[in-house]
Symmetry: C2
Subunit: 327 residues, 2 copies
Protein backbone atom coordinates (compact mmCIF):
# COMPACT_ATOMS: atom_id res chain seq x y z
CA UNK A 1 0.00 0.00 0.00
CA UNK A 2 1.14 3.56 -0.72
CA UNK A 3 2.49 5.49 2.22
CA UNK A 4 -0.28 8.02 2.74
CA UNK A 5 -0.93 11.01 4.94
CA UNK A 6 -1.55 9.34 8.25
CA UNK A 7 -2.58 12.39 10.23
CA UNK A 8 -5.71 14.06 8.90
CA UNK A 9 -4.55 17.48 10.17
CA UNK A 10 -0.90 17.35 8.96
CA UNK A 11 -0.33 19.77 6.09
CA UNK A 12 -0.21 17.74 2.86
CA UNK A 13 2.43 18.22 0.13
CA UNK A 14 2.65 17.73 -3.61
CA UNK A 15 3.79 14.13 -3.16
CA UNK A 16 0.60 13.39 -1.23
CA UNK A 17 -1.41 14.49 -4.28
CA UNK A 18 0.69 12.16 -6.45
CA UNK A 19 0.13 9.30 -4.01
CA UNK A 20 -3.60 10.04 -3.93
CA UNK A 21 -3.75 9.90 -7.74
CA UNK A 22 -2.20 6.41 -7.74
CA UNK A 23 -4.45 5.27 -4.88
CA UNK A 24 -7.79 6.41 -6.32
CA UNK A 25 -7.09 5.66 -10.01
CA UNK A 26 -9.21 2.48 -10.07
CA UNK A 27 -12.24 4.30 -8.67
CA UNK A 28 -12.36 7.76 -10.24
CA UNK A 29 -13.20 8.94 -13.73
CA UNK A 30 -10.47 10.68 -15.68
CA UNK A 31 -12.81 13.51 -16.63
CA UNK A 32 -12.53 15.28 -19.99
CA UNK A 33 -11.27 18.81 -20.57
CA UNK A 34 -13.61 20.82 -22.81
CA UNK A 35 -12.92 23.94 -24.82
CA UNK A 36 -15.08 26.48 -26.64
CA UNK A 37 -13.79 28.94 -29.21
CA UNK A 38 -16.81 31.14 -28.48
CA UNK A 39 -16.01 31.33 -24.77
CA UNK A 40 -12.33 31.93 -25.59
CA UNK A 41 -13.35 34.93 -27.69
CA UNK A 42 -15.63 36.20 -24.95
CA UNK A 43 -12.87 35.92 -22.34
CA UNK A 44 -9.99 37.04 -24.55
CA UNK A 45 -8.09 34.04 -23.16
CA UNK A 46 -7.63 30.31 -23.78
CA UNK A 47 -9.91 28.45 -21.39
CA UNK A 48 -9.57 24.76 -20.44
CA UNK A 49 -12.59 23.43 -18.55
CA UNK A 50 -11.89 20.41 -16.33
CA UNK A 51 -15.25 18.63 -16.11
CA UNK A 52 -15.53 17.38 -12.54
CA UNK A 53 -19.28 17.68 -12.97
CA UNK A 54 -18.81 14.45 -14.96
CA UNK A 55 -17.00 12.83 -12.02
CA UNK A 56 -18.77 10.02 -10.15
CA UNK A 57 -21.42 11.43 -7.76
CA UNK A 58 -21.36 14.49 -10.04
CA UNK A 59 -18.60 16.35 -8.20
CA UNK A 60 -14.84 16.49 -7.46
CA UNK A 61 -15.74 15.54 -3.88
CA UNK A 62 -15.51 11.88 -4.83
CA UNK A 63 -11.74 12.25 -5.26
CA UNK A 64 -11.05 13.40 -1.71
CA UNK A 65 -13.53 11.00 -0.14
CA UNK A 66 -11.99 8.09 -2.06
CA UNK A 67 -8.48 9.03 -1.00
CA UNK A 68 -9.52 9.24 2.64
CA UNK A 69 -11.29 5.88 2.55
CA UNK A 70 -8.41 4.15 0.72
CA UNK A 71 -5.83 5.66 3.10
CA UNK A 72 -7.26 3.75 6.07
CA UNK A 73 -5.55 0.53 7.12
CA UNK A 74 -7.73 -2.56 7.29
CA UNK A 75 -8.44 -2.38 11.02
CA UNK A 76 -9.45 1.28 10.95
CA UNK A 77 -11.42 0.84 7.76
CA UNK A 78 -13.44 -1.99 9.29
CA UNK A 79 -14.86 0.42 11.87
CA UNK A 80 -16.22 2.62 9.10
CA UNK A 81 -16.25 6.34 8.38
CA UNK A 82 -18.38 9.22 9.55
CA UNK A 83 -18.96 12.75 8.32
CA UNK A 84 -21.41 15.61 8.41
CA UNK A 85 -22.68 17.01 5.16
CA UNK A 86 -25.87 18.13 3.53
CA UNK A 87 -24.27 18.12 0.10
CA UNK A 88 -21.94 16.36 -2.33
CA UNK A 89 -19.37 15.19 0.25
CA UNK A 90 -21.92 13.02 2.03
CA UNK A 91 -22.83 11.19 -1.17
CA UNK A 92 -19.17 10.94 -2.19
CA UNK A 93 -18.11 9.40 1.13
CA UNK A 94 -21.08 7.03 1.02
CA UNK A 95 -20.08 5.73 -2.41
CA UNK A 96 -16.39 5.44 -1.47
CA UNK A 97 -17.31 3.47 1.64
CA UNK A 98 -19.61 1.19 -0.33
CA UNK A 99 -16.85 0.51 -2.86
CA UNK A 100 -14.52 -0.53 -0.02
CA UNK A 101 -17.33 -2.42 1.71
CA UNK A 102 -17.20 -0.55 5.01
CA UNK A 103 -19.88 1.24 7.07
CA UNK A 104 -20.57 4.92 6.51
CA UNK A 105 -22.49 7.32 8.77
CA UNK A 106 -23.55 10.74 7.59
CA UNK A 107 -24.90 13.38 9.98
CA UNK A 108 -27.42 15.50 8.09
CA UNK A 109 -29.29 18.56 9.37
CA UNK A 110 -33.06 18.05 9.57
CA UNK A 111 -33.69 20.83 7.02
CA UNK A 112 -31.56 19.25 4.26
CA UNK A 113 -33.42 18.76 0.97
CA UNK A 114 -34.97 15.32 0.53
CA UNK A 115 -33.19 14.85 -2.80
CA UNK A 116 -29.77 15.10 -1.12
CA UNK A 117 -30.79 12.61 1.58
CA UNK A 118 -31.86 10.23 -1.16
CA UNK A 119 -28.47 10.40 -2.88
CA UNK A 120 -26.68 9.57 0.38
CA UNK A 121 -29.10 6.78 1.25
CA UNK A 122 -28.93 5.34 -2.28
CA UNK A 123 -25.23 4.64 -1.74
CA UNK A 124 -26.04 2.68 1.42
CA UNK A 125 -24.94 5.11 4.15
CA UNK A 126 -26.69 5.34 7.52
CA UNK A 127 -28.17 8.80 8.03
CA UNK A 128 -28.27 10.47 11.42
CA UNK A 129 -30.53 13.52 11.45
CA UNK A 130 -29.61 16.42 13.74
CA UNK A 131 -30.64 19.98 14.47
CA UNK A 132 -29.49 22.41 11.77
CA UNK A 133 -26.66 24.12 13.62
CA UNK A 134 -22.95 23.51 13.81
CA UNK A 135 -22.88 22.59 17.51
CA UNK A 136 -25.51 19.90 17.02
CA UNK A 137 -23.74 18.58 13.92
CA UNK A 138 -20.40 18.35 15.70
CA UNK A 139 -21.97 16.71 18.73
CA UNK A 140 -23.75 14.11 16.61
CA UNK A 141 -20.52 13.35 14.75
CA UNK A 142 -18.55 13.01 18.00
CA UNK A 143 -21.19 10.72 19.49
CA UNK A 144 -21.11 8.47 16.41
CA UNK A 145 -17.32 8.37 16.46
CA UNK A 146 -17.12 7.34 20.09
CA UNK A 147 -19.93 4.81 19.80
CA UNK A 148 -18.76 3.10 16.58
CA UNK A 149 -15.05 3.88 16.40
CA UNK A 150 -15.64 5.19 12.89
CA UNK A 151 -13.03 7.51 11.35
CA UNK A 152 -14.05 11.14 10.84
CA UNK A 153 -13.61 12.33 7.25
CA UNK A 154 -14.18 16.08 7.31
CA UNK A 155 -15.49 17.57 4.03
CA UNK A 156 -12.46 19.86 3.61
CA UNK A 157 -10.36 20.22 6.76
CA UNK A 158 -8.60 16.90 6.22
CA UNK A 159 -5.19 16.38 4.57
CA UNK A 160 -6.32 13.19 2.81
CA UNK A 161 -9.33 14.96 1.35
CA UNK A 162 -7.25 17.95 0.18
CA UNK A 163 -4.68 15.68 -1.46
CA UNK A 164 -7.48 13.82 -3.24
CA UNK A 165 -9.07 17.01 -4.57
CA UNK A 166 -5.71 18.03 -6.01
CA UNK A 167 -5.69 15.03 -8.35
CA UNK A 168 -8.11 16.83 -10.70
CA UNK A 169 -5.38 19.41 -11.34
CA UNK A 170 -2.71 16.76 -12.02
CA UNK A 171 -4.97 15.44 -14.75
CA UNK A 172 -5.82 18.91 -16.05
CA UNK A 173 -2.14 19.79 -16.52
CA UNK A 174 -1.51 16.50 -18.31
CA UNK A 175 -4.48 17.10 -20.59
CA UNK A 176 -4.09 20.82 -21.30
CA UNK A 177 -0.33 21.28 -21.03
CA UNK A 178 1.22 24.24 -19.21
CA UNK A 179 -1.22 26.83 -17.83
CA UNK A 180 -0.73 30.40 -16.66
CA UNK A 181 -3.57 30.27 -14.13
CA UNK A 182 -6.01 27.80 -12.62
CA UNK A 183 -9.31 29.07 -11.25
CA UNK A 184 -11.41 26.97 -8.87
CA UNK A 185 -14.32 27.77 -6.55
CA UNK A 186 -13.45 28.33 -2.90
CA UNK A 187 -15.78 27.42 -0.05
CA UNK A 188 -14.04 25.40 2.68
CA UNK A 189 -10.86 25.56 0.63
CA UNK A 190 -10.31 21.83 0.07
CA UNK A 191 -10.44 22.01 -3.71
CA UNK A 192 -8.46 25.25 -4.05
CA UNK A 193 -5.69 24.19 -1.66
CA UNK A 194 -5.41 20.79 -3.38
CA UNK A 195 -5.21 22.66 -6.68
CA UNK A 196 -2.33 24.80 -5.36
CA UNK A 197 -0.39 21.78 -4.07
CA UNK A 198 -0.85 19.90 -7.33
CA UNK A 199 0.00 22.79 -9.66
CA UNK A 200 2.95 24.32 -7.81
CA UNK A 201 4.70 20.96 -7.55
CA UNK A 202 4.77 20.96 -11.34
CA UNK A 203 5.18 24.68 -12.09
CA UNK A 204 5.59 27.18 -9.24
CA UNK A 205 4.60 30.08 -11.50
CA UNK A 206 0.97 29.01 -12.00
CA UNK A 207 -1.38 31.69 -10.68
CA UNK A 208 -3.81 30.01 -8.25
CA UNK A 209 -7.12 31.85 -8.17
CA UNK A 210 -10.08 31.16 -5.93
CA UNK A 211 -13.50 32.17 -7.19
CA UNK A 212 -16.00 33.16 -4.52
CA UNK A 213 -19.46 34.71 -4.48
CA UNK A 214 -19.41 38.35 -3.31
CA UNK A 215 -22.17 37.33 -0.90
CA UNK A 216 -19.98 34.62 0.68
CA UNK A 217 -16.62 36.40 0.65
CA UNK A 218 -15.12 34.98 3.84
CA UNK A 219 -12.16 33.36 2.04
CA UNK A 220 -11.36 36.63 0.27
CA UNK A 221 -11.51 38.61 3.50
CA UNK A 222 -9.68 35.94 5.53
CA UNK A 223 -6.72 35.95 3.15
CA UNK A 224 -6.76 39.76 2.89
CA UNK A 225 -6.71 40.29 6.66
CA UNK A 226 -4.73 37.24 7.72
CA UNK A 227 -7.50 36.29 10.14
CA UNK A 228 -9.70 33.29 9.37
CA UNK A 229 -13.35 34.35 9.44
CA UNK A 230 -15.78 31.71 10.72
CA UNK A 231 -18.80 33.62 11.98
CA UNK A 232 -20.75 34.70 8.91
CA UNK A 233 -23.99 33.27 7.53
CA UNK A 234 -23.66 33.79 3.78
CA UNK A 235 -26.65 33.96 1.47
CA UNK A 236 -25.78 32.85 -2.01
CA UNK A 237 -27.22 30.70 -4.76
CA UNK A 238 -23.98 28.67 -4.51
CA UNK A 239 -25.02 26.04 -1.97
CA UNK A 240 -21.58 24.43 -2.16
CA UNK A 241 -19.76 27.59 -1.09
CA UNK A 242 -21.60 28.65 2.06
CA UNK A 243 -19.02 27.13 4.43
CA UNK A 244 -15.97 28.91 5.87
CA UNK A 245 -12.35 28.36 4.97
CA UNK A 246 -10.84 25.50 7.00
CA UNK A 247 -7.66 25.63 9.09
CA UNK A 248 -5.60 23.60 6.63
CA UNK A 249 -6.94 25.40 3.56
CA UNK A 250 -6.25 28.83 5.08
CA UNK A 251 -2.68 27.80 5.84
CA UNK A 252 -2.02 26.28 2.40
CA UNK A 253 -3.61 29.13 0.44
CA UNK A 254 -1.53 31.72 2.32
CA UNK A 255 1.65 29.74 1.69
CA UNK A 256 0.85 29.48 -2.02
CA UNK A 257 -0.15 33.17 -2.34
CA UNK A 258 -3.54 32.28 -3.77
CA UNK A 259 -5.72 35.18 -4.89
CA UNK A 260 -9.48 35.21 -4.41
CA UNK A 261 -11.69 37.05 -6.90
CA UNK A 262 -15.37 37.80 -6.36
CA UNK A 263 -18.47 37.54 -8.53
CA UNK A 264 -22.01 38.85 -8.10
CA UNK A 265 -24.97 36.48 -8.00
CA UNK A 266 -26.12 37.81 -11.39
CA UNK A 267 -22.69 37.21 -12.95
CA UNK A 268 -22.69 33.65 -11.55
CA UNK A 269 -26.10 32.87 -13.06
CA UNK A 270 -25.04 34.33 -16.42
CA UNK A 271 -21.84 32.28 -16.42
CA UNK A 272 -23.80 29.14 -15.49
CA UNK A 273 -26.10 29.59 -18.45
CA UNK A 274 -23.13 30.24 -20.76
CA UNK A 275 -21.61 26.90 -19.72
CA UNK A 276 -24.89 25.08 -20.43
CA UNK A 277 -25.20 26.83 -23.83
CA UNK A 278 -21.65 26.74 -25.10
CA UNK A 279 -20.09 23.68 -23.44
CA UNK A 280 -23.34 21.64 -23.35
CA UNK A 281 -22.71 20.42 -19.83
CA UNK A 282 -24.82 20.69 -16.68
CA UNK A 283 -23.19 22.49 -13.75
CA UNK A 284 -24.36 23.65 -10.35
CA UNK A 285 -24.11 27.35 -9.42
CA UNK A 286 -20.88 26.91 -7.41
CA UNK A 287 -19.15 25.57 -10.52
CA UNK A 288 -19.98 28.72 -12.49
CA UNK A 289 -18.11 31.13 -10.22
CA UNK A 290 -14.68 30.63 -11.89
CA UNK A 291 -15.99 31.57 -15.35
CA UNK A 292 -17.84 34.51 -13.79
CA UNK A 293 -14.65 35.93 -12.27
CA UNK A 294 -12.63 35.34 -15.46
CA UNK A 295 -15.23 37.20 -17.54
CA UNK A 296 -15.43 39.90 -14.87
CA UNK A 297 -11.69 40.67 -14.90
CA UNK A 298 -10.64 40.38 -18.54
CA UNK A 299 -7.42 42.39 -18.10
CA UNK A 300 -6.06 39.93 -15.55
CA UNK A 301 -6.45 36.93 -17.85
CA UNK A 302 -5.96 38.53 -21.31
CA UNK A 303 -4.14 36.22 -23.70
CA UNK A 304 -3.43 33.65 -20.98
CA UNK A 305 -3.95 29.90 -20.82
CA UNK A 306 -6.45 29.45 -17.99
CA UNK A 307 -7.67 26.23 -16.40
CA UNK A 308 -11.16 26.30 -14.92
CA UNK A 309 -12.44 23.58 -12.61
CA UNK A 310 -16.13 22.84 -13.22
CA UNK A 311 -16.56 21.49 -9.73
CA UNK A 312 -19.97 19.82 -9.85
CA UNK A 313 -23.24 19.28 -11.66
CA UNK A 314 -25.79 18.54 -8.95
CA UNK A 315 -28.55 21.06 -9.51
CA UNK A 316 -32.33 21.05 -9.36
CA UNK A 317 -33.22 20.99 -13.07
CA UNK A 318 -36.79 21.93 -12.25
CA UNK A 319 -35.63 25.26 -10.82
CA UNK A 320 -32.72 26.53 -12.91
CA UNK A 321 -31.86 30.03 -11.73
CA UNK A 322 -32.56 31.79 -15.05
CA UNK A 323 -36.18 30.63 -14.89
CA UNK A 324 -38.05 33.66 -13.63
CA UNK A 325 -39.32 33.36 -10.09
CA UNK A 326 -37.78 29.96 -9.47
CA UNK A 327 -35.53 31.48 -6.84
CA UNK B 1 -5.47 13.99 -50.87
CA UNK B 2 -7.56 10.94 -49.97
CA UNK B 3 -9.60 9.43 -52.74
CA UNK B 4 -13.09 10.42 -51.67
CA UNK B 5 -16.64 9.76 -52.74
CA UNK B 6 -16.85 11.87 -55.86
CA UNK B 7 -20.53 11.43 -56.61
CA UNK B 8 -22.78 12.75 -53.87
CA UNK B 9 -25.50 10.21 -54.73
CA UNK B 10 -23.30 7.08 -55.05
CA UNK B 11 -23.88 4.67 -52.17
CA UNK B 12 -20.96 5.02 -49.74
CA UNK B 13 -19.11 2.07 -48.18
CA UNK B 14 -17.19 1.38 -44.99
CA UNK B 15 -13.95 2.55 -46.59
CA UNK B 16 -15.54 5.93 -47.28
CA UNK B 17 -16.17 6.31 -43.54
CA UNK B 18 -12.51 5.45 -42.87
CA UNK B 19 -11.40 8.00 -45.47
CA UNK B 20 -13.71 10.61 -43.96
CA UNK B 21 -12.22 10.03 -40.51
CA UNK B 22 -8.71 10.70 -41.83
CA UNK B 23 -9.90 13.74 -43.79
CA UNK B 24 -11.79 15.51 -41.00
CA UNK B 25 -9.47 14.59 -38.11
CA UNK B 26 -7.85 18.06 -37.91
CA UNK B 27 -11.23 19.78 -37.63
CA UNK B 28 -13.47 17.62 -35.44
CA UNK B 29 -13.47 16.92 -31.73
CA UNK B 30 -12.89 13.36 -30.64
CA UNK B 31 -15.87 13.47 -28.30
CA UNK B 32 -15.89 11.57 -25.01
CA UNK B 33 -17.94 8.47 -24.21
CA UNK B 34 -19.77 8.77 -20.89
CA UNK B 35 -21.20 6.06 -18.68
CA UNK B 36 -23.54 6.01 -15.67
CA UNK B 37 -23.95 3.07 -13.33
CA UNK B 38 -27.36 4.43 -12.38
CA UNK B 39 -28.57 4.47 -15.99
CA UNK B 40 -27.08 1.00 -16.53
CA UNK B 41 -29.15 -0.30 -13.61
CA UNK B 42 -32.26 1.43 -14.93
CA UNK B 43 -31.76 -0.10 -18.40
CA UNK B 44 -30.51 -3.50 -17.26
CA UNK B 45 -27.75 -3.10 -19.86
CA UNK B 46 -24.31 -1.53 -20.26
CA UNK B 47 -24.76 1.85 -21.95
CA UNK B 48 -22.01 3.82 -23.71
CA UNK B 49 -23.02 7.39 -24.55
CA UNK B 50 -21.13 8.96 -27.45
CA UNK B 51 -21.30 12.70 -26.76
CA UNK B 52 -21.79 14.36 -30.13
CA UNK B 53 -23.57 17.13 -28.25
CA UNK B 54 -20.01 18.12 -27.33
CA UNK B 55 -18.99 18.18 -31.01
CA UNK B 56 -18.24 21.55 -32.61
CA UNK B 57 -21.48 23.41 -33.46
CA UNK B 58 -23.06 21.20 -30.77
CA UNK B 59 -24.00 18.31 -33.08
CA UNK B 60 -22.69 15.36 -35.15
CA UNK B 61 -23.70 17.36 -38.24
CA UNK B 62 -20.28 19.01 -38.24
CA UNK B 63 -18.69 15.66 -39.22
CA UNK B 64 -20.67 15.21 -42.43
CA UNK B 65 -20.45 18.88 -43.41
CA UNK B 66 -16.67 18.85 -42.88
CA UNK B 67 -16.25 15.72 -44.96
CA UNK B 68 -18.28 17.20 -47.82
CA UNK B 69 -16.33 20.47 -47.78
CA UNK B 70 -12.95 18.72 -47.57
CA UNK B 71 -13.89 16.30 -50.38
CA UNK B 72 -14.12 19.13 -52.93
CA UNK B 73 -11.15 19.76 -55.19
CA UNK B 74 -9.74 23.28 -55.17
CA UNK B 75 -11.62 24.51 -58.23
CA UNK B 76 -14.99 23.29 -57.01
CA UNK B 77 -14.32 24.46 -53.47
CA UNK B 78 -13.54 27.98 -54.68
CA UNK B 79 -17.09 28.32 -55.97
CA UNK B 80 -18.43 27.63 -52.49
CA UNK B 81 -21.17 25.43 -51.04
CA UNK B 82 -24.92 25.80 -50.68
CA UNK B 83 -27.56 24.05 -48.59
CA UNK B 84 -31.00 24.47 -47.16
CA UNK B 85 -31.47 24.02 -43.44
CA UNK B 86 -33.21 25.62 -40.54
CA UNK B 87 -31.15 23.65 -38.04
CA UNK B 88 -27.77 22.23 -37.11
CA UNK B 89 -26.64 21.34 -40.65
CA UNK B 90 -26.71 24.98 -41.77
CA UNK B 91 -24.44 26.07 -38.91
CA UNK B 92 -22.20 23.03 -39.44
CA UNK B 93 -21.73 23.72 -43.15
CA UNK B 94 -21.14 27.41 -42.43
CA UNK B 95 -18.33 26.59 -39.99
CA UNK B 96 -16.76 23.99 -42.30
CA UNK B 97 -16.78 26.48 -45.19
CA UNK B 98 -15.24 29.18 -43.01
CA UNK B 99 -12.48 26.80 -41.91
CA UNK B 100 -11.67 26.09 -45.57
CA UNK B 101 -12.06 29.76 -46.48
CA UNK B 102 -14.77 29.31 -49.10
CA UNK B 103 -18.21 30.92 -49.56
CA UNK B 104 -21.30 29.32 -48.01
CA UNK B 105 -24.95 30.01 -48.81
CA UNK B 106 -27.74 28.73 -46.62
CA UNK B 107 -31.38 28.83 -47.70
CA UNK B 108 -33.53 29.30 -44.59
CA UNK B 109 -37.33 29.37 -44.39
CA UNK B 110 -38.72 32.74 -43.24
CA UNK B 111 -40.26 31.18 -40.13
CA UNK B 112 -36.97 29.77 -38.79
CA UNK B 113 -36.18 30.83 -35.21
CA UNK B 114 -33.95 33.91 -34.95
CA UNK B 115 -31.49 32.02 -32.75
CA UNK B 116 -30.77 29.48 -35.51
CA UNK B 117 -30.27 32.25 -38.08
CA UNK B 118 -27.80 33.86 -35.70
CA UNK B 119 -25.73 30.68 -35.40
CA UNK B 120 -25.48 30.37 -39.18
CA UNK B 121 -24.67 34.06 -39.65
CA UNK B 122 -22.08 33.98 -36.84
CA UNK B 123 -20.04 31.51 -38.88
CA UNK B 124 -20.02 33.90 -41.84
CA UNK B 125 -22.53 32.24 -44.18
CA UNK B 126 -24.79 34.23 -46.50
CA UNK B 127 -28.45 33.61 -45.66
CA UNK B 128 -31.13 33.47 -48.34
CA UNK B 129 -34.63 33.61 -46.87
CA UNK B 130 -37.42 31.74 -48.65
CA UNK B 131 -41.05 30.75 -48.15
CA UNK B 132 -41.44 27.90 -45.65
CA UNK B 133 -42.24 25.06 -48.04
CA UNK B 134 -40.12 22.42 -49.73
CA UNK B 135 -40.77 23.66 -53.29
CA UNK B 136 -39.60 27.19 -52.43
CA UNK B 137 -36.55 25.83 -50.59
CA UNK B 138 -35.54 23.64 -53.51
CA UNK B 139 -36.08 26.45 -56.00
CA UNK B 140 -33.98 28.89 -53.96
CA UNK B 141 -31.20 26.32 -53.68
CA UNK B 142 -31.25 25.60 -57.42
CA UNK B 143 -31.19 29.30 -58.26
CA UNK B 144 -28.17 29.85 -55.98
CA UNK B 145 -26.37 26.86 -57.47
CA UNK B 146 -26.83 28.02 -61.04
CA UNK B 147 -25.94 31.63 -60.27
CA UNK B 148 -22.82 30.96 -58.15
CA UNK B 149 -21.68 27.51 -59.25
CA UNK B 150 -21.68 26.52 -55.57
CA UNK B 151 -21.78 22.79 -54.68
CA UNK B 152 -24.98 21.51 -53.08
CA UNK B 153 -24.38 19.75 -49.75
CA UNK B 154 -27.68 18.15 -48.79
CA UNK B 155 -28.22 17.69 -45.02
CA UNK B 156 -28.52 13.89 -45.33
CA UNK B 157 -29.07 12.65 -48.87
CA UNK B 158 -25.38 12.95 -49.75
CA UNK B 159 -22.79 10.17 -49.68
CA UNK B 160 -20.05 12.46 -48.35
CA UNK B 161 -22.31 13.61 -45.52
CA UNK B 162 -23.33 10.03 -44.62
CA UNK B 163 -19.69 8.88 -44.58
CA UNK B 164 -18.80 11.79 -42.32
CA UNK B 165 -21.59 11.04 -39.83
CA UNK B 166 -20.32 7.46 -39.60
CA UNK B 167 -17.02 8.61 -38.13
CA UNK B 168 -18.66 9.07 -34.72
CA UNK B 169 -19.25 5.31 -34.63
CA UNK B 170 -15.65 4.48 -35.59
CA UNK B 171 -14.57 6.47 -32.54
CA UNK B 172 -17.27 4.96 -30.33
CA UNK B 173 -16.12 1.41 -31.12
CA UNK B 174 -12.50 2.35 -30.43
CA UNK B 175 -13.46 3.94 -27.13
CA UNK B 176 -16.02 1.42 -25.86
CA UNK B 177 -14.77 -1.81 -27.42
CA UNK B 178 -17.14 -4.32 -29.01
CA UNK B 179 -20.85 -3.51 -28.78
CA UNK B 180 -23.97 -5.64 -29.26
CA UNK B 181 -26.10 -2.76 -30.50
CA UNK B 182 -25.81 0.90 -31.46
CA UNK B 183 -28.86 3.14 -31.18
CA UNK B 184 -29.03 6.50 -32.97
CA UNK B 185 -31.87 8.89 -33.77
CA UNK B 186 -33.33 8.63 -37.27
CA UNK B 187 -34.72 11.60 -39.17
CA UNK B 188 -33.35 11.90 -42.71
CA UNK B 189 -31.24 8.82 -42.03
CA UNK B 190 -27.79 10.33 -42.53
CA UNK B 191 -26.56 9.54 -39.03
CA UNK B 192 -28.13 6.08 -38.80
CA UNK B 193 -26.92 4.93 -42.22
CA UNK B 194 -23.41 6.23 -41.50
CA UNK B 195 -23.57 4.34 -38.20
CA UNK B 196 -24.48 1.12 -40.02
CA UNK B 197 -21.65 1.49 -42.56
CA UNK B 198 -19.12 2.23 -39.85
CA UNK B 199 -20.17 -0.54 -37.47
CA UNK B 200 -20.76 -3.38 -39.92
CA UNK B 201 -17.35 -2.89 -41.55
CA UNK B 202 -15.87 -3.73 -38.15
CA UNK B 203 -18.39 -6.28 -36.84
CA UNK B 204 -21.30 -7.40 -39.04
CA UNK B 205 -23.22 -8.68 -36.00
CA UNK B 206 -23.84 -5.26 -34.41
CA UNK B 207 -27.57 -4.58 -34.13
CA UNK B 208 -28.24 -1.18 -35.77
CA UNK B 209 -31.27 0.47 -34.19
CA UNK B 210 -32.90 3.71 -35.24
CA UNK B 211 -34.80 5.65 -32.59
CA UNK B 212 -37.74 7.67 -33.84
CA UNK B 213 -40.59 9.61 -32.21
CA UNK B 214 -43.93 7.80 -32.52
CA UNK B 215 -45.29 11.09 -33.86
CA UNK B 216 -42.72 11.16 -36.70
CA UNK B 217 -42.61 7.46 -37.56
CA UNK B 218 -41.99 7.70 -41.30
CA UNK B 219 -38.65 5.84 -41.16
CA UNK B 220 -40.26 3.02 -39.16
CA UNK B 221 -43.15 2.72 -41.60
CA UNK B 222 -40.94 3.14 -44.69
CA UNK B 223 -38.70 0.26 -43.66
CA UNK B 224 -41.68 -1.88 -42.60
CA UNK B 225 -43.52 -1.42 -45.89
CA UNK B 226 -40.55 -1.08 -48.25
CA UNK B 227 -41.98 2.16 -49.61
CA UNK B 228 -40.29 5.44 -48.68
CA UNK B 229 -42.82 7.80 -47.14
CA UNK B 230 -42.28 11.49 -47.93
CA UNK B 231 -45.66 13.14 -47.52
CA UNK B 232 -46.26 13.46 -43.79
CA UNK B 233 -46.06 16.57 -41.62
CA UNK B 234 -44.88 15.24 -38.26
CA UNK B 235 -45.52 17.06 -35.00
CA UNK B 236 -42.90 16.25 -32.43
CA UNK B 237 -40.78 18.04 -29.88
CA UNK B 238 -37.76 16.60 -31.76
CA UNK B 239 -37.09 19.41 -34.21
CA UNK B 240 -34.15 17.51 -35.69
CA UNK B 241 -36.28 14.50 -36.66
CA UNK B 242 -39.18 16.06 -38.59
CA UNK B 243 -37.68 15.33 -42.04
CA UNK B 244 -38.26 12.18 -44.11
CA UNK B 245 -35.84 9.37 -44.80
CA UNK B 246 -33.62 10.18 -47.80
CA UNK B 247 -33.08 7.98 -50.85
CA UNK B 248 -29.58 6.92 -49.82
CA UNK B 249 -30.47 6.37 -46.18
CA UNK B 250 -33.49 4.24 -47.09
CA UNK B 251 -31.31 2.08 -49.36
CA UNK B 252 -28.48 1.67 -46.83
CA UNK B 253 -30.76 0.97 -43.85
CA UNK B 254 -32.61 -1.75 -45.79
CA UNK B 255 -29.32 -3.36 -46.86
CA UNK B 256 -28.07 -3.34 -43.26
CA UNK B 257 -31.37 -4.63 -41.82
CA UNK B 258 -31.66 -1.72 -39.41
CA UNK B 259 -34.54 -1.80 -36.96
CA UNK B 260 -36.47 1.31 -35.97
CA UNK B 261 -38.01 1.55 -32.49
CA UNK B 262 -40.51 4.22 -31.44
CA UNK B 263 -40.87 6.40 -28.36
CA UNK B 264 -43.70 8.61 -27.13
CA UNK B 265 -43.18 12.33 -26.59
CA UNK B 266 -43.49 11.81 -22.81
CA UNK B 267 -40.86 9.06 -22.84
CA UNK B 268 -38.52 11.31 -24.85
CA UNK B 269 -38.87 14.18 -22.37
CA UNK B 270 -38.28 11.81 -19.43
CA UNK B 271 -35.16 10.38 -21.09
CA UNK B 272 -33.88 13.90 -21.85
CA UNK B 273 -34.17 14.87 -18.21
CA UNK B 274 -32.46 11.64 -17.12
CA UNK B 275 -29.48 12.48 -19.34
CA UNK B 276 -29.24 15.98 -17.83
CA UNK B 277 -29.50 14.55 -14.30
CA UNK B 278 -27.32 11.47 -14.51
CA UNK B 279 -24.79 12.26 -17.24
CA UNK B 280 -24.68 16.03 -16.53
CA UNK B 281 -24.73 16.94 -20.19
CA UNK B 282 -27.11 19.14 -22.17
CA UNK B 283 -28.92 17.45 -25.06
CA UNK B 284 -31.68 18.47 -27.43
CA UNK B 285 -34.89 16.40 -27.57
CA UNK B 286 -33.84 14.47 -30.71
CA UNK B 287 -30.79 13.17 -28.85
CA UNK B 288 -32.96 11.67 -26.09
CA UNK B 289 -34.91 9.31 -28.33
CA UNK B 290 -32.31 6.47 -28.24
CA UNK B 291 -32.35 6.27 -24.43
CA UNK B 292 -36.15 6.48 -24.50
CA UNK B 293 -36.41 3.42 -26.78
CA UNK B 294 -33.81 1.46 -24.80
CA UNK B 295 -35.68 2.08 -21.53
CA UNK B 296 -38.97 1.30 -23.29
CA UNK B 297 -37.89 -2.14 -24.53
CA UNK B 298 -35.79 -3.59 -21.71
CA UNK B 299 -36.11 -7.20 -22.90
CA UNK B 300 -34.49 -6.39 -26.24
CA UNK B 301 -31.36 -4.90 -24.66
CA UNK B 302 -31.13 -6.90 -21.39
CA UNK B 303 -27.52 -7.57 -20.42
CA UNK B 304 -26.15 -6.17 -23.68
CA UNK B 305 -23.44 -3.63 -24.42
CA UNK B 306 -25.29 -0.79 -26.11
CA UNK B 307 -23.86 2.32 -27.76
CA UNK B 308 -26.07 5.42 -27.76
CA UNK B 309 -25.35 8.43 -29.93
CA UNK B 310 -26.19 11.68 -28.13
CA UNK B 311 -26.63 13.51 -31.40
CA UNK B 312 -26.79 17.16 -30.35
CA UNK B 313 -27.15 19.71 -27.60
CA UNK B 314 -28.74 22.75 -29.22
CA UNK B 315 -31.82 23.45 -27.13
CA UNK B 316 -33.60 26.53 -25.84
CA UNK B 317 -32.54 26.51 -22.17
CA UNK B 318 -35.24 29.03 -21.36
CA UNK B 319 -37.94 26.56 -22.36
CA UNK B 320 -36.84 23.07 -21.34
CA UNK B 321 -39.71 20.66 -21.98
CA UNK B 322 -40.18 19.57 -18.37
CA UNK B 323 -40.97 23.15 -17.38
CA UNK B 324 -44.75 23.24 -17.20
CA UNK B 325 -46.41 25.12 -20.01
CA UNK B 326 -43.18 25.92 -21.84
CA UNK B 327 -44.30 23.88 -24.83
Amino acid sequence: MDSGVSDAMARPAHEDVRAAARRIAPWVQRTPVLRSSGLDRLAGAELFFKCENLQRVGAFKFRGASNAVLSLDAARAARGVVTQSSGNHGAALALAARLRGIPCHVVVPRNAPAVKLEAIRAFGAAITPCEPNMAARNAACAELQSRTGAELVHPFDDARVIAGQGTATLELLEQAGALDAIVAPVGGGGLLSGTALAAHGIDPRVDIVGAEPEQARDAHDSLATGVRIVDRVPETICDGLRGHLGVLGFDILRAHRAAVLLASEAAIVAAMRLVFERLKVVIEPSAAVPLAVVLGQPARFAGKRVGIVLSGGNVDLGALPWQGGAR
